[in-house]
Symmetry: D4
Subunit: 147 residues, 8 copies
């Protein structure tokens, strides 16, 4: 079972999931989570740009090579929305995954319930914690529920 | 040529586009832009819910019937990000459209350039004004540029 | 907007919907609702069978020509489960429609809620009456809610 | 060869198939067959619901994560209809599999022949026993018939 | 409803169908049925070939432009096998249509039942006469059976 | 590289290809080539039929489970037409493979050139001998030509 | 029948085809053939760029909105290679059309035969003149050959 | 991660990439780069042709068996345009890959920027050297940037 972990990159939620899922027959993938590398990869490899727009554009396209493959290969796409930032790329990934018919799990706090209602409506599960994600993966994979 | 106008519903940008495009052989579609109707349609038709989550859930799914058809039928999807709110549904629509191979035009102000870089990277055009959208539609349709 | 009305053929729910939806820009399709014709069409055209299995088989395949086209062409598939009979063809249509990414509306009484939970989970709306179906179609099409 | 075993979960037909197929190069998958876990998985992981509808809804969606992947990955989908219950989820799976072009094998007793005629018409084989399923798998895989 | 009439071109079966179907809301398409034009179209337009293989190749490819579009656009593909010739192009069309999920109606005499069993197995109806084809189209379209 | 060997089952052409291709990184699949088993598999497993049509029908559908998977999984489909019989199933397989975008290699003697022109026109190679098939596979796989 | 006329924009070959095809039931589409408009459309609408790369990039993407729709909607894609320039966009269009399964007609002079062999190999017709294109369209549409 | 290296075959750019990428979890594929074998493979295996067109045609189709599989299997398609020759097959591959939604990396010198603008506009990265390709693959795979 292949699971892509999309969205917020400033907390360690991916590590928690991977750790908790030890022993489960699941392969995880993720975007590049080094914020600076992710922002600057385009110009670092293909040359500097004067304009911030093209600087970002080159980087975002490089990251898309990774992201598109990961979503396309995944059985399940988990998208986490954190407390800060616009996170439009997370919602974009969710839409992309939904259009491909991937199973979508959305993770966010209660404070974001209303603005995420369209994203949640496309999901097969809406959760708040990494532990719940792992419980779902364990149930889906092995049929066992938390004690 | 079918064009879906997704995103921000608090200003009259759709009206401006439709008006400016008078005479062009283009058919526009849009989400329901009456905010209250959009929020409450689910419970209004299918019965009240105690929980805000399910209240919103029922509404978001009804709106998805309209949105999915409009995006699927469209040749071009225009997504506008305004100055306020989270607008995750706009980014979700953009991702959904991108995965279906639709031509994507993104409209937003310069202040949102960085957080929208992944969405912009999937677009065939990034603009700031409704007038630019119409100029693009006119060029794509008739081959004529603004004087 | 094309809507396929699948399922139960012993009450007049389809007539109610079509009548209530007068004036709406919606085209309805339906299976052959003449029970005897539906059961015997295969042998009536292609010759009698000794075995009930092949009698039914020939008929079911003829009906599939109509059904598959109707579902494939539809934007929305409404599936109604009535009070009697097994109605496995209704659930089959729902699964078929879901796999094609059609918007699914399921109609049934409260007494069938539990055994229909998997079908409901694939739907964008679950209702009890033909009037609700029309209210949904009107909202999705014109953005207007019942007074 | 990947085979998904859908449908009735109250008898040991899956075990019989798996046992009989020992030595065949076939991988089997199945839904969660623990009835209580299957019913309650949603609320067990994502929190209780007052309404039976949403209780079931959350569970059915979790189960869909497993089911959709299994059907999508399968070469062959076997759907068994037992003697009791509505079993609409089985018919839904059959429709879903048919729309994806999967090879469908339906298993049921003679008493259900007429109401299952549409499902049978979409199948490449209709059988009554687990032994016949294994004979088919052995023939399809190795070209050998029962003695 | 779009119907493509594939196969044998030496009898007037297509005319019989079109005539009998007068008044039905059905659009028919067919290959070029002028045998000489069909054989020589390639070299007539694109220049002579010394080799029979390339003479035929150029013609067959031109005809494929028409055939592929007709099959792709069709809801139903009727394939008739006559008494003479190899008619491998008819069987090829049947396979092509089947892979695209088109509804297949096969027409042939009893003498060809055994060698056509794989083609028949992919069909939703197997008939012997043009009249039966029209009866099917009328039933599928209007729900009425022959008196 | 996966190669499906379709068509004529009365000579040892498949064995010649497999033998000649020893050492090449290619996996071959084929239909059941035991003529009697292939004809009778349906009734042997699922019970006798009075009518030859249904006898053949049940068998042809079982064989389709194997054939469809093999063609769907294949990179290359080789279809051989022999000197005898109608071989409509071979042409059907060729059409099915073409519609799925598979690379098609057709093998037949010069005497069948004209009636196979439509099938040949869909092929990427037309050959006469098993040795040529292996030379093609070797070239496509390793880039080496026959000395 | 929808035909997209791709490639060389410096001679009047499109006009010749459209004129010759008068009376045929064919709808033609084409890229913007005003060279300056095509080159500068991006910056004319979305603002100037210092770098020639981004100047061209913005324009090429706008043109892609038109081109992708035209190819996607077309039944037949005609690609003409002229005597001058690199014309990589023409070959790109041919590849794009081929991958979508469109019927491809390639037009070029004998001097380009060798370097266009891969493109020609994907085509259903290879011609030298606009007249031949129209003769093909007339044959494919009406079954009539040039006198 | 599977990467197809398309285009120019007269310099050692593929070797440089493969060498630089040692240790990366990437599988490379390529066309047959022996120019003479690539030109003559068709006639070498399937017999001589008098006409240069059909000589080339047979070869181009054999090469297409390899090329189509490689592009279809690839996650990333790198297309290099060199300094000489028409290289229309490279642009064709780029269009083919783009239509399949593959991630496209284009490599060429500055002198070809303008005529390649449509190809570049479909790419997720445009580079000049093999080293940049490997830096991209390393970043996409491992998230590490060049020091």
């Amino acid at each position: 079972m292949k699971v892509y972990l999309s969205g917020e990159i400033h907390t360690d939620w991916r590590d928690q999931i991977v750790e908790d899922a030890a022993g489960l027959d699941v392969t995880f993938s993720a975007p590049v989570t080094d914020h600076d590398a992710s922002d600057d990869c385009g110009v670092a490899i293909m040359g500097a740009e004067d304009s911030k727009f093209w600087h970002d554009h080159k980087g975002a396209k490089l990251n898309a090579i990774r992201t598109r493959k990961a979503i396309t290969d995944a059985d399940i796409v988990v998208v986490r929305f954190g407390e800060k930032y616009k996170q439009w790329n997370a919602a974009f990934d969710a839409g992309f995954a939904a259009a491909l018919g991937k199973s979508l799990i959305v993770m966010h706090g209660a404070e974001h319930q209303h603005p995420l209602k369209e994203v949640d409506a496309a999901a097969l599960a809406v959760v708040e914690t990494p532990q719940q994600v792992v419980e779902i993966l364990r149930y889906v994979r092995d049929g066992t529920l938390p004690a």
